[in-house]
C-alpha cells in the first residue's frame, strides 16, 4: 500500500459534485461467491444499472472470489451474459465500457494464501484504478461459508479501517436460522467489523414502494393524525407468492415461510408501518424507531401460539389451468414434512400508539396471486346514518408494494339518484402512471447505499435479533403443538383456520 496515494483523506474541493449526486467514493468491491447465481442475476446487472445512471465512482473495480478455475476472460464473459439477460436496457454497453475493471480471484474460502494474494491484488487495483484503499466485501455465498470468510478477513487485516479508508461488508440473508445462530453470527461479524461497517441486506427495503411508506406517512400531514389505535381498526400485511417451492424444496424444508419471509420481509414492513416518526432520517434515527416496534411485540407463550398463529401446507390443486403438486410431493420434500408453506399471525404492538390494534401478517406460497400489500383498515364512524344504520364497508388505505405499486383509498360515496344510497369507491394512485420511466432494481439502491456508507435501508443487529426472538417463540410453539400444519389447496388464499385468526367480523382481503 505504500505507493498508493491516500486519496481518501484529502478533501476534494469539487466533492459535492459527487456526494450531492450520491456518487460513492472510489472503492474496490470483492464478491465472495462470484461464480454463483446471485452475482450473475442480480449483483453485476445492478452495478451496471448504477454505471448507466452515472452513479458508480470512476475509481471502481470488482474482484470475484470463488473456487472455480476461471480466467478473468471467462469471468467477464459470464457476467456479460448475465447483464444481457437480467440487466436494464443499455446496461450491456456500460459493462463493455468497464469490463477491464472486473477480475477473478481463484481461491477456496478457507485458504489463507488466497487472502494474502487478495490483499496484494487489491493494492495493485488501487494503483491502477484509483480505488484509494476503500473496500466493500459482499458475501454472496451459502451462509455456511460466512464464518470462515469473516474470520479470514479479520485475520488478514482486511476488515481494518485506517487513514480514512473504509472497509465494509454486505451480508446476504439469512442472518441465522434462529436467535441463537443469529447472535453467534453477529458476534463473529463483530470480531472483525464494527456495526457501522456491516450492511445486512433485506432486498425488500431497497424497493421504492417500501421506502415510500415513510414518505407517505411523514411527508404528508393528513395521514399521521389517523395513524393510531383511535382510528385504525387493524392492519393486514400480505406477502403472497403464486409459485410453489419448485426445485428449491430441499432449501425450503430447512427454513419454511416463517424464516424465509416473515422474519425478514414482513417484519421489516411492519416496523415501517408502525414506527414513530424518527427525529432525523439518519440511519440510526430510523433504525432506533424500527427496533422499538419489535421490542414492543411480546414473545408468544407456547400455549398462545395455536390461538394467535396458523401454519399450513399447500396440497395438490389446479393453478392457472394446470394441475400442480402438493408441497409434500415436491422434489426434496419428505412425505411427512411439517414445514409450513403458509403462515399467518396476529401480533400486537404494545405501545401507546397501537394498544389494542391487531396487526395480521400472512405469507404463503401457491396463493392465487403474487402480491405484497399493506392494508390499513379504519374504524367505522361512531354513528351510522346511512343504509338504515347497517354498517358500510370500512375505509381502507392500501399500500400496494408489488405489483401495480401504488396507494389506494376506499371510501363510501353517494350513488346518484333520489335515494341516499352509499357505494364503495376507490381513489387510486399508481406509481407507474405518475412517475414513468424504468425503475431500478432494489439491489441497485442497496449496493449504492453500502458504497456511500448509508445503513438506513439495512437491518441492524438488534433489529435482526428482535425479529428472531418473536419468530423463535412462534416456532417453539409449533414444535410443541399437538397439531400438524393445516392444509390449503394450491391456488387458494390459505387454510380456513387463517380466517379464525380474525375476530369481530374482520376478514382477510383477497388482493
Amino acid at each position: 500500500m505504500a505507493t498508493t496515494h491516500d486519496a481518501a483523506t484529502s478533501t476534494n474541493p469539487l466533492g459535492d459534485e459527487l456526494r450531492g449526486g450520491r456518487t460513492a467514493k472510489p472503492c474496490a468491491l470483492v464478491i465472495f461467491g462470484a461464480t454463483g447465481d446471485l452475482t450473475k442475476r442480480k449483483l453485476v446487472p445492478s452495478l451496471m444499472g448504477l454505471a448507466k445512471d452515472g452513479l458508480l465512482p470512476s475509481g471502481f473495480a470488482v474482484t470475484g472470489f470463488a473456487r472455480r478455475d476461471w480466467s478473468d476472460q471467462k469471468f467477464r464473459a459470464e457476467l456479460a451474459e448475465g447483464v444481457a439477460q437480467f440487466g436494464r436496457s443499455d446496461t450491456e454497453a456500460a459493462f463493455a465500457a468497464m469490463a477491464d475493471a472486473f477480475t477473478f480471484h481463484q481461491s477456496d474460502f478457507g485458504d489463507a494464501a488466497g487472502y494474502e494474494s487478495l490483499k496484494q491484488k487489491l493494492a495493485q487495483i488501487d494503483r491502477q484504478h484509483g480505488t484509494a484503499g476503500n473496500r466493500l466485501f459482499y458475501l454472496a455465498t451459502p451462509p455456511s461459508a460466512y464464518s470462515t470468510i469473516l474470520e479470514r478477513l479479520a485475520a488478514h487485516g482486511l476488515s481494518r479501517e485506517e487513514n480514512g479508508r473504509f472497509a465494509r461488508i454486505i451480508v446476504e440473508k439469512p442472518f441465522g436460522r434462529d436467535l441463537a445462530t443469529a447472535v453467534a453470527l453477529n458476534d463473529q461479524v463483530r470480531q472483525g467489523f464494527h456495526e457501522r461497517q456491516v450492511f445486512r441486506i433485506d432486498h425488500y427495503l431497497g424497493k421504492e414502494t417500501v421506502q415510500n411508506i415513510l414518505a407517505l406517512r411523514f411527508a404528508n400531514g393528513i395521514f399521521e393524525p389517523l395513524w393510531n389505535e383511535k382510528f385504525v381498526d387493524h392492519v393486514q400485511i400480505t406477502v403472497a407468492e403464486s409459485i410453489g417451492v419448485g426445485s428449491r424444496g430441499g432449501y425450503f424444508e430447512e427454513s419454511g415461510i416463517i424464516r424465509d419471509m416473515i422474519q425478514n420481509h414482513l417484519m421489516q414492513v411492519l416496523t415501517l408501518v408502525a414506527m414513530e416518526p424518527p427525529a432525523t432520517l439518519s440511519a440510526d434515527g430510523v433504525r432506533d424507531e424500527k427496533v422499538k416496534v419489535l421490542k414492543a411485540i411480546r414473545s408468544f407463550a407456547p400455549a398462545d401460539v395455536d390461538r394467535c398463529t396458523v401454519r399450513a401446507q399447500y396440497t395438490r390443486g389446479s393453478f392457472g389451468g394446470e394441475d400442480v403438486k402438493g408441497y409434500r410431493e415436491e422434489e426434496g420434500v419428505p412425505a411427512n414434512s411439517t414445514t409450513e408453506t403458509f403462515a399467518a399471525a396476529r401480533l400486537h404492538v404494545e405501545n401507546w400508539r397501537w394498544a389494542g390494534t391487531p396487526f395480521y401478517l400472512r405469507s404463503g406460497k401457491r396463493l392465487p396471486r403474487r402480491v405484497t400489500e399493506v392494508a390499513i383498515q379504519f374504524k367505522q364512524p361512531p354513528h351510522l346514518l346511512f343504509q338504515g344504520g347497517r354498517p358500510l364497508q370500512p375505509n381502507v388505505l392500501l399500500l400496494r408494494i408489488q405489483p401495480d405499486e401504488g396507494v389506494a383509498l376506499r371510501f363510501g360515496a353517494k350513488v346518484p339518484g333520489p335515494d341516499v344510497r352509499i357505494r364503495d369507491v376507490r381513489m387510486d394512485f399508481r406509481y407507474g402512471a405518475a412517475f414513468g420511466g424504468e425503475t431500478a432494481d432494489a439491489y441497485e439502491r442497496l449496493l449504492l447505499d453500502a458504497m456511500l456508507g448509508d445503513g438506513t435501508l439495512f437491518a441492524r443487529r438488534d433489529e435482526v435479533e428482535e425479529a428472531w426472538r418473536i419468530v423463535d417463540s412462534i416456532v417453539a410453539g409449533w414444535q410443541q403443538s399437538k397439531h400438524r400444519p393445516a392444509e390449503y389447496v394450491a391456488g387458494t388464499w390459505g387454510p380456513d383456520a387463517a380466517d379464525k385468526l380474525l375476530s369481530g367480523g374482520r376478514q382477510w382481503r383477497k388482493p
Binding site: 476534494n12 469539487l14 470512476s58 475509481g59
Partner: protein
Amino acid sequence: MSEAPALCRTPPRAVPLPQIPDALRAIWRTCGGDERSADGADVARSLAINFVGTAAAADEPMLRAAVERLQGRTPCRAFLLLVDDRAAQIGAEVSATTRLHGGTHDIVLEEITVRLPSAGFERLPGLVRPLLVNDLPNHLFWATAWPRQAHHFDDLAALCEHTVVDTRLFAAPALELGHLRARRDRGARVTDLNWLRLRPWRRALAEAYERLPAAGGARTEVRLLHGRAALAATMLLGEWLEARLGARVVLDGGGTGTGPCPDRVVLRTADAEIDLQAPDAQIVAHVSTAAHCFLPFQVPASRGTDGDLLAAAIDLG
C-alpha cells in the same frame, strides 16, 4: 424489469382558440370517455405538471422529441408554442397520448400546439393562463434564443414556478448569461440545460480530484479549449472552476469541435495535472501527480438526449 408500455396518440385536431377547452374534453371521450375506453379498459388522467415550451417553428421536432421524452417520466399538459413568422395568425391544435398500463389507459400527455407569428407573442400569457390545469406545478421551457424584448420571456416565466432555458441557443452568452443571473438574483428558479449537459465534465473533474493530494491553496491554472457552439457551456464551466478552485481560467476558442461542450480541459497545479478530452462518446481523463500516474478513466460524455436533460431539469425544479 418492466416492459415498455404501449403508447397511443390521437391525431392532432385543429381548433379555434376559444374552443380549446371543449376540444380537450372531446379528446377525453375519444380516449374512452369518462369511464371506459373502447377496448373496455379503464381510463385515468395522470397529469403531474403543466409544461409550457416555446421554440422557433424550425425547432419544432426538437421540442416535440423533448416533450415525448418528458412525458415518459412526468405526465403533463403541454403547451407547444411555436413562433413562425410565416403564420398569418395564431392557430392551435390539440391531441392526447395515452399509455396502456396494467389494464388502464392513462392519459399521460395533453398537447396544445399553438403556432403564432412573433407579433402574436403578447397574447400568449392570456391564452395559456386559463388553460393551465389547477393545482399542478407549472414549468416553462424557453427553448430558443434570448428574446429581443425581454418581457416576452418574463411574461411567460411569470406564469410558472420554474423556468428551464438552454443557453446553448443564446446568441451572445457573454451578455445574456448576465440577464439570467439577474433574474436568479431576484429569486427566479431557472435551470439551464447547458449546465446539466456539463455534468459529465464536472463529474470527471471531481473524480480526478479524488486522486489528487489535498490541494492546500496550490495555484491552479485551467485552459478550456472549445468550438463555436460550446462558448456558453465553456464560460459556465470556467466560472465554476474560478469560483470553486480560485483557478486562473483561460478560454481558447480555437477548438474544432461542433458540439455544445468543450473539446478539452487541462488543469494544472504545482504537482498535478488533469487532462480531459472527449474524442467520442466518452470523456477520457488522464490524471498524474508528482508521485503517480493513474490509468486513464472514462466517464460517458453525454447524459442522454435534450429530452432526457429536460426531464432531469423538471425533476430538479
